[in-house]
Amino acid sequence: MIGRTATANASTRKLVSFGAGALALTLLASGCVSYFEIPIETPIKAKLDVSPFQRVHVVGFIAGGSDDVDANLETVRLLRSQLRTRSGLRVIEADVLPLAEIAQEMNKDTPADAPAAPETPATPSEGKPEAKPTTSEIKPATPEALDPGGHSPQAPAAVARVRDEKSLASFEPIFANVEYWKKLGEEFQQPLIVTGTVLFTPQSKSGMVSQTRETYDNLGRRVVMPMRVFMERKGYILRPKFIFIDGRTGTRIYSESFREERLYPSQQNVPALSSYFELMDDVIPRFLNVLSTQKVRGTRVLLK
């Protein structure tokens, strides 16, 4: 009797589960899907009104950190190429300024009371006729002290190495030197000047890391298990600060800092330059968003 009841219960359960499965299948077949994933492109407005400018000049950066990458040169090249293809501004091609050297010379020659840049918004352009930009005659605030390339004519100054943010801070006064930037702006027909600092430093960390492990159970089904493992990792931190200067007045109009970090397993030998570009990939859209409206792609779920 008991056996029969048990059998009856089992068959009822089977029937119920079969019914539920059938119902689910019917619902699916009849198109009762209540949500739809849809790709969207969200526009993010430009943070800076660059309409007064026709040209942009990425002059150079005070760079430091790793010796494996010339962060000044690489950043200028990358930003120029991105601006060329993804902004409406004409990119000025000129020699990259060794800004750290120039800043160091300025610190030597200029006393601490150098004119500070009042931070003013961009004003409409006067629509001056365009002239072909040249790389000559770029003079710093103390023109007699430096040659056009920014080098001291007397003796090549040994540039203090920039290793961290602290040492970077000593070079910062150059960005407030209105006269210097105004002169540079005049040389290139008052473009929007892009400059700043870039710190690209190696780092290593060790600790517990969350990972997933794939296994197969007795029935051959794939099972993904979350687990925590101890790992030694090394990588790089990229800390760029972009400063936008009005080439007509020499004043700073906007600046924004970013911080990106990548860590790789210590066995993986990732070249510094690859890591630099990987990190810049994350920074570039946000940099471009300062100057132009950017579209962010994503997906959302529409509901019925």
Binding site: P43, F242, S255, E256, V301
Partner: protein, 120 residues
Amino acid sequence: MVRTRLLAAFVVMGLTAGAVPAFADARSDSKAQVDFGIKSAQKELWSEALYRWKRAVEIDPTYAAAHNNLAIAYEHNGQFDNARVAYEKALELEPNNVLIKQNYDLFREINDRANRNGER
């Protein structure tokens, strides 16, 4: 006395019975607008979709899905303030809806980025 009570009960029942179809009508009209909006959005006709979902929330302001979809259309247009209001309304109506929460989280990420300003 009994007759009065019975009469009152009938009146209440009548009102309830009348209200349910009215609500059901509003919901089904709103649903029709939502469905059409979804089809429009899938064909990338976002202006039409926006219009349909606006109509849907006008017809039935308690329809969380319509508010959610409207928020997405606003987001697509870069109207972040409107999108936030619509997402918040959708979540107010269905606080436990994981899909609305997920959409809202993604929206907030982008909204934060758009609002993060440097120094001027």
